[in-house]
Amino acid sequence: MANRVQIPTNNSALIAMIADEDTVVGFLLAGVGNVDLRRKTNYLIVDSKTTVKQIEEAFKEFTTRTDIAVVLISQYVANMVRFLVDSYNKPIPAILEIPSKNHPYDPAHDSILSRVKHLFSTESVASRH
């Protein structure tokens, strides 16, 4: 009715990651990592040599795969592909911006929170220091 987009009930979906090495290693340790028969992974380690194009492609791939429900992306990486992240408007997979060691979480840049900045007039979440 009001909800045209049918969110499929998925019994088993992966958590993808586009983050710096430490973060990815930590999550891999927890068991989130997946490598399938075709050597396709559900994570991309971003370092100084990673190009914006690679990040874009990984983002596009992860967000179109049907077996991925959540994409964790370091906020500083998200900033590099901000236009892609902000124009993404599907509810699934969910895109979560996470902090990294050198870049603590900054609500001002979060794409979700910035969407509702206008709802808060005086007590703005995004402007909290």
Binding site: M1, A2, N3, R4, V5, Q6, I7, P8, T9, N10, N11, S12, A13, L14, I15, E21, D22, T23, V25, G26, F27, L28, L29, A30, G31, V32, G33, N34, V35, D36, T41, N42, A69, V70, L72, N89, P91, I92, A94, I95, L96, I98, P99, S100, K101, P104, Y105, P107, D110, I112, L113, R115, V116, L119, V125
Partner: protein
């Protein structure tokens, strides 16, 4: 809902349409309000959740640094080598909130997490702690993902509902009301015309009757007068009719 009345005519009357448009409008407004309340609640939860996520990530990051320190910096390779199928996954369900299906994520573990970190000489305990920290982080993150998805879905639903409310209020109802008042106006006008026609005819009839009464009286008078003055009855009548004709011109 009846859209058919008793004579088998399938067009609902305008008044009925107006009634259901009004009721629909009120109901949709209520739905919009309920959804907005949920929306704000979820938003609050998201904000606080994101903050605790920041904290937890920091803790996990420290624990990883510790583990790396103790294990001699070799962790990365060992872990990367050991990735096969994910043991930590999510499943999604739908929850019905105020008539809108909101998604909800849950994380679950499947199979054994590879404890095959035999490449690490030391630091087993720290590594274990690190793992626990990151699993906890996943817990918070999955919860956050649920909230976020619900938030986006609600946003869409609220926009759609409000669009419908506005459409009913600004397009459908005014059109119906205008058509109804136009028809009422036409009917009133017809009634007035009929009434006027009726009155006009009554007026004519009345004047006819008065005319005849008046001429009957004059006739009487003429008879009396001519007999008194000795004028012939006919010429008296002729005089009278000539006068009356002129009068008729004036009246009409």
């Amino acid at each position: 809902m009846h859209l058919f009345n008793n004579h088998g005519n399938s067009f609902p009357s305008l008044l009925f349409l107006l009634k259901i448009a009004t009721r629909g409008h009120a109901l949709l407004k209520k739905k919009s309000d309920a959804l907005t309340v949920q929306f704000r609640q979820i938003l609050k939860k998201i904000v606080s959740s994101k903050e605790s996520m920041g904290e937890i990530m920091k803790t996990s990051s420290f624990s990883l640094t510790e583990a790396k320190y103790v294990a001699g910096g070799n962790i990365k390779h060992v872990v990367l080598e050991n990735v096969h199928t994910a043991s930590l996954k999510v499943r999604s369900r739908q929850e019905n909130v105020a008539g809108v299906k909101l998604p909800k994520f849950e994380y679950f573990t499947e199979g054994e997490t590879k404890n095959d970190l035999t490449g690490l000489a030391r630091g087993g305990q720290q590594v274990q702690q690190c793992r626990v920290a990151y699993v906890k982080a996943i817990e918070v993150l999955v919860e956050l993902a649920s909230l976020q998805t619900s938030f986006l879905t609600l946003d869409e639903a609220i926009k759609t509902t409000n669009r419908r409310v506005n459409a009913l209020e600004n397009v459908v109802k005014p059109r119906l009301e205008n058509t109804i008042s136009y028809i009422k106006g036409e009917l009133d006008e017809l009634e007035r015309e009929d009434f006027f026609r009726l009155k006009k005819i009554q007026g004519y009839k009345k004047r006819e009757i008065e005319k005849q009464l008046a001429s009957a009286k004059e006739f009487e008078f003429a008879e009396k007068d001519s007999s008194q003055k000795g004028i012939s009855r006919n010429s008296a009548h002729n005089l009278l009719s000539a006068g009356r004709e002129k009068d008729e011109d004036i009246i009409f």
